[in-house]
Every structure is written in structure tokens, then in C-alpha cells.
């Protein structure tokens, strides 16, 4: 029981963490509330599905293709849609929801609404401290950890990362310091879309594919991002861990818990926010407290 919770919790929260970090990144840098973030995840999953089934290429090439196409799609969305109405945040929200609906309907038209699956990347399992762990689960957890560490190195050790963090802190001052703000935002959008695609590559064999698969993770990553504090990358990871484990415990322990998975983890989020309104790692400005 306990080890099942540990493994499944790590797998679920790893995927959520990669998705939530991508969302948090584009929100922090470009101040865009991208409701279509999990649609990028869905698009990447379906691209893998197509290239495996129709093109018949190897899993590695399919993953590379998925990541590449998703990044291009994300950048196009940003360039032609979100960037133009950036000032009106609710308009951005509506436009991204519309993009999500269009993608969902396109999938529904090309395939029907049935559940589909992608075969595992590596099959088999290994005994690990008395518990048999699927290689696929280990692959997901390792992949998530490597991705997050890579992102952390990119943000803290490179010049580009410094520019991204500067833009996230203050766009106008970053502009005065000679940083091309719109280009940095575009790169951030590319990284964010890439993270969504990586999450899809890692977890596509574990999750069923269906046209509305973007809604459930979207709610969870929004909750995770808010729980950790908006714009804080570290906070998003912790938020995803908390929510992922809550969800797993609910599913495993409570009978019929799959109905309640969303409800209980969101309840946890509400309770945390009542006691810490700025999230776990959010920054609060003294003059804004009420």
C-alpha cells in the first residue's frame, strides 16, 4: 500500500511538476495566464500517437518530433495571439481557452472521442527493495528530475537564464538594461511549450489519450502553481508534489476515490491559501496586505 502510494505519487507529481513549472515560467516572465498550456501537452501526446501509428518511426524520433512541433505551435500561438492582447489579461485568458477548444474539437474530428493509448517506451519491471517497479515509472521519475535540474541550471547558471529572471522581475528595467524583452518572452514561451511536450513524452504511455484530456491536468497544475505561489518555480514543484501525493492517497485509500481526486486536492489548496494567501513560496509586498 505505502510503496504503491510512494511510486504512483512520484510518477503523478513528477508529470504535474514539469507541467506546472512550464506554466509558472510563462506566467512569471510574460505575465500570460496561458489556459492552453495543457493543450500543448495534449498536442504532444497525440503527435507521438500519430507518428508511432501512422508513420511507424521509432519512439525516440517520435518524441523529438513531438517536442519540436509543440514548441513551434506554442511560439506561433504566442506571436500571433497572446502577444497582441497582452495588456488585457482576461482577453488572453479567453483567447487561450478558445485555442484549447479548437484543438479539442480538431482531435475529436480527426479521431473519434474514444480512449487511446501509446505503448510503453521500455517494458518490464525490476525488484527494488522488495517492490516491483515498472521501468516506465522509473523512466518518468528520472526524466522529470533531470528536466527540472536542467531547467534550474539554465535559469541560474547561464546568461539567458539571467535575462529571463530579470524580465520576470521587472520588464521595464530589464528593457533599460539592454535586454530584448519580447525576444526573451518568446524564448520563455518556447521553453514552456517544450516542458509541456517533455511531460507528454514521459507520461504518454501511462495516461489514456482522449480529446478532453487537457481539462483535468489544467485544474491540477493551476492549483499547484497557486499553492506554491505565482511565478515561483520552486513553489510550483512543491505544489505539484503536495497535490500529486494527495491525489494518489485519495485514489488508493478511499474506495471510489477517483470521483473525489480533484475535490480533495483542491480542498487542500483552499485550506493552505486561507492560512497563507500568497502561497507557500510567493512574495508578498507589505503595502499590498489588507
Amino acid at each position: 500500500m505505502l510503496e504503491r502510494i510512494l511510486i504512483n505519487g512520484l510518477v503523478i507529481s513528477g508529470t504535474y511538476a514539469v507541467l506546472a513549472v512550464g506554466f509558472s515560467l510563462i506566467f512569471g516572465v510574460a505575465k500570460i495566464f496561458n489556459m492552453a498550456h495543457t493543450v500543448l501537452y495534449m498536442a504532444a501526446s497525440y503527435i507521438i500517437f500519430f507518428s508511432l501509428n501512422s508513420l511507424g518511426i521509432h519512439y525516440v524520433f517520435a518524441s523529438a518530433l513531438a517536442i519540436l512541433l509543440t514548441i513551434i505551435f506554442g511560439i506561433l500561438c504566442y506571436k500571433f495571439l497572446f502577444d497582441r492582447v497582452k495588456v488585457h489579461e482576461t482577453a488572453v485568458m479567453i483567447i487561450s481557452i478558445s485555442v484549447a477548444i479548437i484543438c479539442q474539437e480538431l482531435v475529436l474530428m480527426t479521431l473519434d472521442g474514444s480512449y487511446r493509448g501509446v505503448p510503453s517506451f521500455i517494458v518490464g519491471s525490476k525488484e527494488l527493495m522488495g517492490v516491483s517497479v515498472l521501468y516506465q515509472h522509473m523512466f518518468v521519475v528520472l526524466g522529470c528530475i533531470i528536466t527540472l535540474i536542467g531547467l534550474w541550471i539554465l535559469l541560474t547558471k547561464t546568461f539567458l537564464g539571467k535575462a529571463i529572471r530579470a524580465v520576470a522581475q521587472d520588464q521595464e528595467i530589464a528593457n533599460l538594461m539592454g535586454i530584448d524583452v519580447s525576444r526573451v518572452c518568446l524564448i520563455a514561451m518556447g521553453i514552456s511549450a517544450g516542458l509541456a511536450a517533455i511531460a507528454a513524452v514521459l507520461s504518454a504511455p501511462l495516461e489514456p489519450l482522449y480529446p478532453a484530456m487537457w481539462l483535468q491536468p489544467l485544474i491540477l497544475i493551476l492549483a499547484a502553481v497557486v499553492l506554491g505561489g505565482l511565478g515561483s518555480i520552486k513553489g510550483s514543484v512543491y505544489g505539484a508534489l503536495i497535490l500529486g501525493f494527495t491525489e494518489t492517497i485519495v485514489i488508493t485509500v478511499i474506495p471510489g476515490g477517483s470521483f473525489l481526486r480533484g475535490a480533495v486536492s483542491l480542498l487542500a489548496m483552499v485550506i493552505v491559501l486561507i492560512f497563507r494567501p500568497e502561497g507557500l513560496f510567493g512574495v508578498v509586498f507589505e503595502e499590498e496586505t489588507l
Binding site: I101, L260, A263
Partner: protein
């Protein structure tokens, strides 16, 4: 008598016919009243009734947006009021004019509970917390399937009336009255009711509003209560019209839908939300008539939304009113855009065009 009539006519000329916004509103409501004379086909009436119900709902969302609180979970009020009204109607057999207001009151109660976190949260944090509540309520419904009907929902609810035309007039009248009340409550330029300007002040700068001596907490909760009440009225009418109260009225997608309507019409203006519903909803239903419409309607709707918002990000009603009307710089009176001089003070309106 004739003097009074003439005075009335002069008043209508001055207050309605010379202001583009009010003229459009009057024409719109007249059309709604005359429409059943021309067509009484069940399908037309059906989507007009639904449009009126959704218009109340979208306007209630907009009232909350006036205070700067974006709610992503407005379906909570709609759905919970629907369930309350349905339960009262089924178990006690009360008629519709009791169940719908009671549903509204229960929504107020739930809204005040849901509004508690709103006192400490703002902006996106608040939006996300409101998103959580309908999901939690859906969880409660699935825990007690015998009481709430589970996934199938509650059935066996009274209909509003056997005659569709009577249903239509009831719903449209409720929509007009509640829309007018909400518009008046959120109208910043009203001289009688202060809530409008206070709501706007809270949205612009909450701390400055507190400095001005406004109890912002009380007014934010008041906005929550009013918004929840009207959303609840819409929810009650909806279950009595559809005669089923199910979890489909609590989905996240339904909460997003109301955002699409209200922001398309114009955020923070009650008339914008109503206009948004009356433009988008019949369009969706109209596309359904064609054979290909079933598959393409969401795509077409989304494309229309995207292109509208790209060119008029403030919403369609704000854009149209900006084009039609012009405010005199000297006396701040609204004029039609094609006039040369202000109708009140004769000052020239288009100064830059004369060069």
C-alpha cells in the same frame, strides 16, 4: 393630459433617442417582446429562453467582475441553486415562485461561504480558489448519490408552464428586471445608488478605497451575495425549464463558458454580458441547423471569439458604443458620433477633423 404626453415624449427624445446605448437597449427589449408574435416554433423559443437564462447568469458574473474579482467558478452558484430548487420542489412540492427565490437565497449562503477566502486573496489567487469550489461541490454530490441523484441528476421537476410562450415571457421579464437591477447597482455614474461607484473604486485601488472610508470587506461580500443571488435565480429557472438538475451544470467548462460570453460582450459592463450571450448563443444554435454545424460549431465559435478579441480586446459592446457615441468635452453629455455639435451645449465635437 396632452401636456404630460408631450413632456413624456420630450423626455424619451432626450434620454433615450439621443443616446446610442439606450436606443439600442430599448430596440433590443422591444424586439424581444414582439418576437413571439412572428414565430412560436418550439426550437426558436427554446433557444431564446435559454439565452435569457444564460444572460442573467453572465450578467451576474459581470457584476463580480465590476469589483475586480474574476470568478472562475460561477457555476457553483448556478448549480447549487439549481439543486436546492429541485430538492425543495421534489420533496415539498412548492411552486416555482417559491423554489427559485429560495434557490437564489441558498446560493447567497454558499456565496458568502465561498466569499470568505476572497477577503484575503486577490487577482489570480482568487480566481483559482473560486475554480476549486464547484469541483469540491461535485465531489459532495458524488458522495451522496441517493440524495443528489448521483451522475444522472434529479428528475421529476415541475415545468414553469405548459405553454412555451408564457415560459418565454416569464423568463424574459425576469431577465430584464434582474439585468436592470444589476446594471443600476454597478452603474458608477448613478446619483442615487452608491454601490456602483464603490465597486468601481474597489476595482481600481482597494487601499485607496479603504482610505476613503469604505468598508471594502463588507462591499466585496455584498458583491458576492448579489452575484450569487442572480446566478442562483438563473440556475433555478434553468432546472425548471430543463426539468433535470444534474452535475453537468457544475462543470469547469460551464464556468469557462460564462467567461467567454461576458468577456466577449465587454467585461465590467452588465449590458455587455447580456449582449455577449444574445450574440454568441443564438449563433451557436443557428450553426447547428446545418448538417456540418454539429462538428464545426465550437471551432467557428472559438475563431469568432479569437478574432473579435484580437481587434476589440475590451469586448464587442464597448467597441460599438465607442464608435457610435462621442462624449462632449465641455459638458460630458453623450452624443451620436455623426453630430457636428453637442446637443446640449452646441460645442463642436470633432475638433481634430476640422483642420
Amino acid at each position: 393630459m396632452i401636456y404630460h404626453l408631450r413632456w413624456m415624449w420630450q423626455w424619451i427624445l432626450g434620454e433615450v433617442f439621443s443616446r446610442p446605448g439606450r436606443l439600442i437597449a430599448m430596440l433590443f427589449f422591444l424586439t424581444l417582446f414582439i418576437l413571439p408574435v412572428f414565430t412560436t416554433t418550439p426550437s426558436t423559443l427554446r433557444f431564446l429562453i435559454l439565452a435569457a437564462i444564460y444572460a442573467i447568469f453572465a450578467a451576474s458574473w459581470d457584476l463580480l467582475a465590476v469589483t475586480g474579482q474574476v470568478s472562475l467558478g460561477q457555476a457553483l452558484f448556478f448549480g447549487s441553486a439549481g439543486y436546492t430548487a429541485a430538492l425543495i420542489n421534489i420533496h415539498f412540492g412548492f411552486p416555482i415562485w417559491v423554489t427559485v427565490p429560495l434557490g437564489g437565497l441558498s446560493a447567497v449562503f454558499i456565496g458568502l461561504i465561498a466569499g470568505m477566502p476572497a477577503l484575503r486573496l486577490r487577482g489570480f489567487y482568487l480566481a483559482l480558489v473560486t475554480l476549486a469550489f464547484p469541483v469540491i461541490f461535485t465531489g459532495i454530490i458524488f458522495i451522496f448519490p441517493e440524495f443528489f441523484g448521483g451522475e444522472m441528476g434529479l428528475i421529476g421537476i415541475d415545468r414553469i408552464s405548459k405553454n412555451r410562450v408564457i415560459v418565454y415571457y416569464t423568463v424574459v421579464l425576469v431577465m430584464m428586471v434582474s439585468g436592470f437591477i444589476m446594471w443600476k447597482l454597478s452603474d458608477a455614474s448613478s446619483k442615487i445608488i452608491r454601490t456602483g461607484i464603490i465597486f468601481h473604486a474597489i476595482r481600481e485601488d482597494e487601499i485607496a478605497a479603504r482610505l476613503a472610508g469604505i468598508n471594502t470587506i463588507r462591499y466585496k461580500l455584498l458583491a458576492y451575495a448579489i452575484s450569487a443571488f442572480f446566478a442562483g435565480i438563473a440556475g433555478g429557472l434553468y432546472i425548471h425549464f430543463m426539468r433535470i438538475a444534474g452535475p453537468s451544470s457544475l462543470t469547469v467548462f460551464f464556468s469557462f463558458q460564462v467567461l467567454l460570453w461576458a468577456i466577449f460582450g465587454g467585461k465590467g459592463t452588465i449590458y455587455g454580458a447580456i449582449a455577449g450571450v444574445y450574440i454568441l448563443f443564438p449563433m451557436t444554435e443557428y450553426i447547428m441547423i446545418y448538417e456540418w454545424g454539429e462538428n464545426f460549431r465550437h471551432i467557428i465559435m472559438s475563431l469568432i471569439l479569437i478574432f473579435t478579441l484580437l481587434f476589440m480586446p475590451e469586448g464587442i459592446s464597448v467597441w460599438i458604443l465607442d464608435k457610435l457615441g462621442i462624449i462632449c468635452r465641455r459638458c460630458k453629455v453623450v452624443n451620436f458620433a455623426n453630430r457636428k455639435n453637442c446637443r446640449a451645449c452646441r460645442a463642436p465635437l470633432h475638433l481634430e477633423n476640422q483642420k
